[in-house]
Amino acid sequence: MVNSSSKLKDRAVKGAINNLRKDKRVEAISLSLIANELDVSLETLKNYYSSTEDIFLKAQKKDWSSLHRYWDKRIEKAKTPGDYKDAFELFFERFVETLSEDADLMLEMSCYLPSCIKYRERNKKRVKKKFLSLIKKGWPGKDDKVLKRQTELITIVFYGFIDHVVHIKKSERLKLLRDFRNMVNLQLQDRKFF
Protein backbone atom coordinates (compact mmCIF):
# COMPACT_ATOMS: atom_id res chain seq x y z
CA MET A 1 0.00 0.00 0.00
CA VAL A 2 2.77 2.40 1.00
CA ASN A 3 4.66 1.40 -2.11
CA SER A 4 1.71 1.93 -4.43
CA SER A 5 0.83 5.30 -2.93
CA SER A 6 4.46 6.36 -3.21
CA LYS A 7 4.47 5.25 -6.86
CA LEU A 8 1.30 7.19 -7.54
CA LYS A 9 2.82 10.31 -5.98
CA ASP A 10 5.93 9.95 -8.16
CA ARG A 11 3.77 9.50 -11.24
CA ALA A 12 1.72 12.56 -10.33
CA VAL A 13 4.88 14.68 -10.05
CA LYS A 14 6.13 13.29 -13.37
CA GLY A 15 2.73 13.97 -14.94
CA ALA A 16 2.71 17.58 -13.77
CA ILE A 17 6.29 18.04 -15.01
CA ASN A 18 5.54 16.50 -18.42
CA ASN A 19 2.60 18.82 -18.89
CA LEU A 20 4.68 21.77 -17.88
CA ARG A 21 7.42 20.76 -20.32
CA LYS A 22 4.84 20.61 -23.12
CA ASP A 23 2.80 23.66 -22.30
CA LYS A 24 4.85 25.83 -19.92
CA ARG A 25 1.68 27.02 -18.20
CA VAL A 26 1.15 25.73 -14.69
CA GLU A 27 -2.26 27.43 -14.53
CA ALA A 28 -3.47 25.17 -17.33
CA ILE A 29 -2.56 21.96 -15.52
CA SER A 30 -5.38 20.75 -13.32
CA LEU A 31 -5.55 17.80 -10.97
CA SER A 32 -8.28 16.27 -13.12
CA LEU A 33 -6.03 16.46 -16.19
CA ILE A 34 -3.26 14.67 -14.31
CA ALA A 35 -5.70 12.10 -12.86
CA ASN A 36 -7.00 11.45 -16.32
CA GLU A 37 -3.53 10.94 -17.74
CA LEU A 38 -2.60 8.63 -14.86
CA ASP A 39 -5.82 6.71 -15.32
CA VAL A 40 -6.89 7.17 -11.70
CA SER A 41 -9.94 8.93 -10.31
CA LEU A 42 -9.74 12.53 -9.22
CA GLU A 43 -10.79 11.45 -5.72
CA THR A 44 -7.82 9.09 -5.50
CA LEU A 45 -5.41 11.84 -6.49
CA LYS A 46 -7.07 14.23 -4.07
CA ASN A 47 -6.18 11.87 -1.24
CA TYR A 48 -2.60 13.03 -1.76
CA TYR A 49 -2.76 16.47 -3.33
CA SER A 50 -5.14 19.40 -3.03
CA SER A 51 -3.95 21.15 -6.22
CA THR A 52 -1.22 21.16 -8.87
CA GLU A 53 0.62 23.70 -6.76
CA ASP A 54 0.48 21.19 -3.92
CA ILE A 55 2.17 18.57 -6.12
CA PHE A 56 5.11 20.88 -6.71
CA LEU A 57 5.25 21.97 -3.09
CA LYS A 58 5.35 18.41 -1.78
CA ALA A 59 7.96 17.38 -4.37
CA GLN A 60 10.10 20.36 -3.35
CA LYS A 61 9.74 19.48 0.34
CA LYS A 62 10.58 15.84 -0.30
CA ASP A 63 13.83 16.67 -2.15
CA TRP A 64 15.01 19.11 0.50
CA SER A 65 14.02 16.88 3.44
CA SER A 66 16.09 14.08 2.02
CA LEU A 67 19.03 16.42 1.52
CA HIS A 68 18.75 17.81 5.06
CA ARG A 69 18.60 14.29 6.54
CA TYR A 70 21.79 13.35 4.72
CA TRP A 71 23.45 16.59 5.76
CA ASP A 72 22.39 16.33 9.42
CA LYS A 73 23.90 12.85 9.69
CA ARG A 74 27.24 14.19 8.47
CA ILE A 75 27.06 17.16 10.84
CA GLU A 76 26.24 14.92 13.82
CA LYS A 77 29.31 12.77 13.17
CA ALA A 78 31.67 15.76 12.80
CA LYS A 79 34.18 16.43 15.59
CA THR A 80 37.12 18.36 14.14
CA PRO A 81 37.29 21.45 11.88
CA GLY A 82 38.24 19.09 9.06
CA ASP A 83 35.07 17.06 9.62
CA TYR A 84 32.94 20.20 9.56
CA LYS A 85 34.61 21.33 6.35
CA ASP A 86 33.85 17.94 4.85
CA ALA A 87 30.21 18.17 5.95
CA PHE A 88 30.04 21.59 4.32
CA GLU A 89 31.50 20.33 1.05
CA LEU A 90 29.57 17.07 1.00
CA PHE A 91 26.35 19.03 1.09
CA PHE A 92 27.17 20.68 -2.25
CA GLU A 93 28.25 17.36 -3.71
CA ARG A 94 25.07 15.61 -2.60
CA PHE A 95 22.97 18.49 -3.84
CA VAL A 96 24.40 18.24 -7.35
CA GLU A 97 24.38 14.42 -7.44
CA THR A 98 20.71 14.23 -6.52
CA LEU A 99 19.48 16.86 -8.97
CA SER A 100 16.93 15.34 -11.30
CA GLU A 101 16.59 15.82 -15.05
CA ASP A 102 13.68 18.12 -14.30
CA ALA A 103 15.51 20.24 -11.73
CA ASP A 104 15.17 23.29 -13.99
CA LEU A 105 11.37 23.16 -13.91
CA MET A 106 11.28 22.34 -10.22
CA LEU A 107 13.37 25.45 -9.57
CA GLU A 108 11.13 27.60 -11.74
CA MET A 109 8.07 26.42 -9.83
CA SER A 110 9.76 27.02 -6.49
CA CYS A 111 10.33 30.63 -7.54
CA TYR A 112 6.89 31.16 -9.03
CA LEU A 113 4.13 29.40 -7.09
CA PRO A 114 3.23 31.31 -3.90
CA SER A 115 3.32 28.36 -1.48
CA CYS A 116 6.57 27.11 -3.06
CA ILE A 117 8.13 30.56 -2.73
CA LYS A 118 7.27 30.59 0.97
CA TYR A 119 8.80 27.18 1.48
CA ARG A 120 11.89 28.20 -0.52
CA GLU A 121 12.43 31.24 1.70
CA ARG A 122 11.98 29.20 4.88
CA ASN A 123 14.36 26.58 3.61
CA LYS A 124 16.90 29.19 2.61
CA LYS A 125 16.97 30.37 6.23
CA ARG A 126 17.49 26.78 7.37
CA VAL A 127 20.36 26.29 4.90
CA LYS A 128 21.92 29.60 5.94
CA LYS A 129 21.77 28.62 9.61
CA LYS A 130 23.59 25.38 8.88
CA PHE A 131 26.17 27.18 6.73
CA LEU A 132 26.84 29.56 9.62
CA SER A 133 27.32 26.76 12.10
CA LEU A 134 29.59 24.79 9.75
CA ILE A 135 31.69 27.80 8.79
CA LYS A 136 32.12 28.69 12.46
CA LYS A 137 33.36 25.19 13.30
CA GLY A 138 35.17 24.42 10.04
CA TRP A 139 37.01 27.73 9.74
CA PRO A 140 37.39 28.77 13.39
CA GLY A 141 38.66 32.14 14.60
CA LYS A 142 36.36 34.43 12.68
CA ASP A 143 34.62 37.12 14.70
CA ASP A 144 30.82 37.14 14.71
CA LYS A 145 30.43 39.99 12.27
CA VAL A 146 32.75 38.40 9.72
CA LEU A 147 31.05 35.06 10.19
CA LYS A 148 27.63 36.56 9.46
CA ARG A 149 28.81 38.49 6.41
CA GLN A 150 30.64 35.54 4.94
CA THR A 151 27.66 33.26 5.56
CA GLU A 152 25.40 35.73 3.78
CA LEU A 153 27.75 35.80 0.79
CA ILE A 154 28.05 32.03 0.62
CA THR A 155 24.26 31.70 0.74
CA ILE A 156 23.91 34.26 -2.06
CA VAL A 157 26.39 32.52 -4.33
CA PHE A 158 24.96 29.10 -3.51
CA TYR A 159 21.51 30.21 -4.70
CA GLY A 160 23.13 31.66 -7.82
CA PHE A 161 24.88 28.34 -8.25
CA ILE A 162 21.55 26.47 -8.02
CA ASP A 163 20.05 28.67 -10.70
CA HIS A 164 23.02 27.99 -12.97
CA VAL A 165 23.61 24.31 -12.34
CA VAL A 166 20.05 23.17 -13.03
CA HIS A 167 20.26 24.64 -16.51
CA ILE A 168 23.40 22.85 -17.64
CA LYS A 169 23.99 19.25 -18.70
CA LYS A 170 24.53 16.65 -16.00
CA SER A 171 28.07 15.95 -17.26
CA GLU A 172 29.04 19.60 -16.80
CA ARG A 173 27.55 19.95 -13.34
CA LEU A 174 30.40 18.26 -11.50
CA LYS A 175 33.03 20.39 -13.23
CA LEU A 176 31.19 23.52 -12.22
CA LEU A 177 30.81 22.20 -8.70
CA ARG A 178 34.60 21.77 -8.38
CA ASP A 179 35.22 25.38 -9.40
CA PHE A 180 32.41 26.62 -7.18
CA ARG A 181 33.76 24.80 -4.13
CA ASN A 182 37.21 26.20 -4.75
CA MET A 183 35.84 29.71 -4.97
CA VAL A 184 33.92 29.27 -1.72
CA ASN A 185 36.97 27.80 0.00
CA LEU A 186 39.16 30.68 -1.08
CA GLN A 187 36.62 33.08 0.34
CA LEU A 188 36.38 31.25 3.69
CA GLN A 189 40.13 30.95 4.13
CA ASP A 190 40.25 34.71 4.37
CA ARG A 191 40.04 34.83 8.17
CA LYS A 192 39.94 38.55 8.70
CA PHE A 193 37.84 39.21 5.63
CA PHE A 194 39.01 42.51 4.22
Binding site: K24, V26, E27, L107, E108, M109, C111, Y112, L113, P114, I117, R149, E152, L153, I156, V157, F158, Y159, G160, F161, D163, H164, V165, L176, D179, F180, N182, M183, L186, Q187, D190, F193, F194
Partner: protein
Protein backbone atom coordinates in the same frame (compact mmCIF):
# COMPACT_ATOMS: atom_id res chain seq x y z
CA UNK B 1 7.91 62.99 -17.91
CA UNK B 2 5.17 63.28 -20.58
CA UNK B 3 1.56 62.22 -19.94
CA UNK B 4 1.89 58.97 -21.87
CA UNK B 5 4.94 57.90 -19.88
CA UNK B 6 3.22 58.90 -16.64
CA UNK B 7 0.28 56.63 -17.46
CA UNK B 8 2.63 53.79 -18.34
CA UNK B 9 4.52 54.14 -15.06
CA UNK B 10 1.22 54.23 -13.13
CA UNK B 11 0.07 51.00 -14.80
CA UNK B 12 3.34 49.24 -14.03
CA UNK B 13 3.36 50.33 -10.40
CA UNK B 14 -0.30 49.44 -9.85
CA UNK B 15 0.10 46.03 -11.45
CA UNK B 16 2.99 45.00 -9.26
CA UNK B 17 1.35 46.51 -6.22
CA UNK B 18 -1.75 44.37 -6.92
CA UNK B 19 0.31 41.23 -7.43
CA UNK B 20 2.13 41.80 -4.17
CA UNK B 21 -1.02 42.71 -2.25
CA UNK B 22 -3.05 39.69 -3.25
CA UNK B 23 -0.12 37.33 -2.80
CA UNK B 24 -1.68 35.07 -5.41
CA UNK B 25 0.86 35.46 -8.15
CA UNK B 26 0.55 36.38 -11.76
CA UNK B 27 -2.39 34.10 -12.59
CA UNK B 28 -4.79 35.95 -10.33
CA UNK B 29 -4.05 39.45 -11.51
CA UNK B 30 -5.79 40.73 -14.59
CA UNK B 31 -5.46 43.88 -16.67
CA UNK B 32 -9.14 44.49 -16.03
CA UNK B 33 -8.57 44.61 -12.28
CA UNK B 34 -5.60 46.94 -12.74
CA UNK B 35 -7.71 49.23 -14.96
CA UNK B 36 -10.45 49.29 -12.31
CA UNK B 37 -7.99 50.15 -9.55
CA UNK B 38 -6.51 52.94 -11.64
CA UNK B 39 -9.95 54.20 -12.66
CA UNK B 40 -8.64 54.04 -16.20
CA UNK B 41 -10.64 52.83 -19.20
CA UNK B 42 -9.62 49.30 -20.10
CA UNK B 43 -9.06 50.37 -23.73
CA UNK B 44 -6.60 53.02 -22.63
CA UNK B 45 -4.65 50.52 -20.58
CA UNK B 46 -4.47 48.02 -23.43
CA UNK B 47 -3.05 50.71 -25.67
CA UNK B 48 0.10 50.33 -23.56
CA UNK B 49 0.07 46.65 -22.61
CA UNK B 50 -1.92 43.74 -23.99
CA UNK B 51 -1.20 41.29 -21.18
CA UNK B 52 0.23 41.26 -17.67
CA UNK B 53 3.19 39.39 -19.13
CA UNK B 54 3.95 42.39 -21.34
CA UNK B 55 4.27 44.47 -18.19
CA UNK B 56 6.78 42.04 -16.73
CA UNK B 57 8.75 41.99 -19.95
CA UNK B 58 8.73 45.77 -20.17
CA UNK B 59 10.09 46.04 -16.65
CA UNK B 60 12.77 43.46 -17.24
CA UNK B 61 13.86 45.03 -20.52
CA UNK B 62 13.96 48.48 -18.97
CA UNK B 63 16.45 47.35 -16.34
CA UNK B 64 18.52 45.37 -18.83
CA UNK B 65 18.63 48.20 -21.37
CA UNK B 66 19.98 50.59 -18.76
CA UNK B 67 22.89 48.25 -17.99
CA UNK B 68 23.59 47.45 -21.63
CA UNK B 69 23.62 51.11 -22.58
CA UNK B 70 26.04 51.82 -19.77
CA UNK B 71 28.33 48.94 -20.70
CA UNK B 72 28.35 49.81 -24.40
CA UNK B 73 29.32 53.41 -23.74
CA UNK B 74 31.88 52.70 -21.03
CA UNK B 75 33.60 49.65 -22.50
CA UNK B 76 35.13 51.64 -25.35
CA UNK B 77 36.58 54.09 -22.80
CA UNK B 78 38.48 51.40 -20.89
CA UNK B 79 42.23 51.96 -21.25
CA UNK B 80 43.85 50.42 -18.18
CA UNK B 81 43.29 47.39 -15.96
CA UNK B 82 42.00 49.69 -13.26
CA UNK B 83 39.45 51.19 -15.66
CA UNK B 84 38.19 47.68 -16.39
CA UNK B 85 37.99 46.83 -12.69
CA UNK B 86 36.00 49.98 -12.02
CA UNK B 87 33.65 49.24 -14.89
CA UNK B 88 33.06 45.73 -13.56
CA UNK B 89 32.26 47.05 -10.11
CA UNK B 90 30.07 49.90 -11.35
CA UNK B 91 28.06 47.64 -13.63
CA UNK B 92 27.18 45.30 -10.78
CA UNK B 93 26.26 48.30 -8.65
CA UNK B 94 24.10 49.83 -11.38
CA UNK B 95 22.23 46.58 -11.95
CA UNK B 96 21.21 45.94 -8.37
CA UNK B 97 21.09 49.27 -6.59
CA UNK B 98 18.21 50.82 -8.50
CA UNK B 99 15.92 47.81 -8.46
CA UNK B 100 12.37 48.91 -7.63
CA UNK B 101 10.40 47.73 -4.58
CA UNK B 102 8.58 45.16 -6.70
CA UNK B 103 11.80 43.65 -8.09
CA UNK B 104 11.11 40.41 -6.21
CA UNK B 105 7.90 39.86 -8.17
CA UNK B 106 9.65 40.48 -11.48
CA UNK B 107 12.55 38.25 -10.48
CA UNK B 108 10.19 35.38 -9.58
CA UNK B 109 8.31 35.43 -12.86
CA UNK B 110 11.15 35.90 -15.32
CA UNK B 111 12.32 32.28 -15.34
CA UNK B 112 8.76 31.16 -15.92
CA UNK B 113 7.16 33.45 -18.50
CA UNK B 114 8.35 32.44 -21.98
CA UNK B 115 9.14 35.94 -23.28
CA UNK B 116 10.80 36.92 -20.01
CA UNK B 117 12.81 33.71 -19.95
CA UNK B 118 14.02 34.45 -23.45
CA UNK B 119 15.03 37.95 -22.40
CA UNK B 120 16.71 36.61 -19.27
CA UNK B 121 18.75 34.11 -21.30
CA UNK B 122 19.69 36.78 -23.83
CA UNK B 123 20.88 39.09 -21.07
CA UNK B 124 22.82 36.32 -19.39
CA UNK B 125 24.67 35.56 -22.64
CA UNK B 126 25.33 39.26 -23.19
CA UNK B 127 26.61 39.74 -19.64
CA UNK B 128 28.83 36.69 -19.88
CA UNK B 129 30.38 37.90 -23.14
CA UNK B 130 30.89 41.41 -21.78
CA UNK B 131 32.11 40.38 -18.32
CA UNK B 132 34.63 38.10 -20.01
CA UNK B 133 36.04 41.04 -21.99
CA UNK B 134 36.20 43.18 -18.84
CA UNK B 135 37.83 40.45 -16.76
CA UNK B 136 40.40 39.87 -19.50
CA UNK B 137 41.34 43.55 -19.42
CA UNK B 138 41.05 44.04 -15.69
CA UNK B 139 42.86 40.93 -14.55
CA UNK B 140 45.23 40.20 -17.45
CA UNK B 141 47.35 37.09 -17.92
CA UNK B 142 44.69 34.41 -17.55
CA UNK B 143 44.63 31.56 -20.03
CA UNK B 144 41.42 31.10 -22.04
CA UNK B 145 39.96 28.16 -20.08
CA UNK B 146 40.57 29.88 -16.75
CA UNK B 147 38.99 33.05 -18.08
CA UNK B 148 35.95 31.09 -19.22
CA UNK B 149 35.54 29.22 -15.93
CA UNK B 150 36.07 32.28 -13.76
CA UNK B 151 33.57 34.25 -15.83
CA UNK B 152 31.01 31.49 -15.33
CA UNK B 153 31.50 31.69 -11.58
CA UNK B 154 31.16 35.48 -11.63
CA UNK B 155 27.95 35.23 -13.62
CA UNK B 156 26.34 32.66 -11.36
CA UNK B 157 27.38 34.65 -8.30
CA UNK B 158 25.98 37.77 -9.90
CA UNK B 159 22.59 36.15 -10.44
CA UNK B 160 22.61 35.04 -6.80
CA UNK B 161 23.23 38.65 -5.82
CA UNK B 162 20.44 39.79 -8.12
CA UNK B 163 18.00 37.47 -6.34
CA UNK B 164 19.15 38.66 -2.92
CA UNK B 165 18.93 42.36 -3.85
CA UNK B 166 15.54 42.02 -5.48
CA UNK B 167 14.23 40.90 -2.10
CA UNK B 168 16.09 43.31 0.16
CA UNK B 169 15.96 46.92 1.20
CA UNK B 170 18.32 49.41 -0.40
CA UNK B 171 20.53 49.81 2.69
CA UNK B 172 21.03 46.04 2.91
CA UNK B 173 21.93 45.96 -0.79
CA UNK B 174 24.66 48.53 -0.23
CA UNK B 175 26.20 46.54 2.61
CA UNK B 176 26.28 43.25 0.75
CA UNK B 177 27.48 44.82 -2.48
CA UNK B 178 30.78 45.85 -0.94
CA UNK B 179 31.44 42.35 0.38
CA UNK B 180 30.31 40.79 -2.86
CA UNK B 181 32.68 42.87 -4.99
CA UNK B 182 35.55 42.12 -2.62
CA UNK B 183 34.77 38.43 -2.92
CA UNK B 184 34.84 38.53 -6.72
CA UNK B 185 38.08 40.51 -6.59
CA UNK B 186 39.67 37.86 -4.42
CA UNK B 187 38.46 35.19 -6.81
CA UNK B 188 39.72 37.01 -9.90
CA UNK B 189 43.12 37.78 -8.39
CA UNK B 190 43.79 34.07 -8.45
CA UNK B 191 45.60 34.16 -11.80
CA UNK B 192 46.21 30.50 -12.37
CA UNK B 193 42.97 29.37 -10.74
CA UNK B 194 43.68 26.03 -9.13
Amino acid sequence: MDKKTQSKVKIIEKTFEAIKRYDKGLANTSLLRVAEELCMPYEELTSFFLTIEDIYLNEQERNNRKVEKYLESELSEVKTANDAKSLFENTIRLFVMDLPDYADVVWAATPFLPKCLEERNRMKVYLKKTFKKIIKKGWPGKIETVLERQTDLCILSFYGLYEYCSKSKKKDREAILKDFINMLNLHLQDRLFF
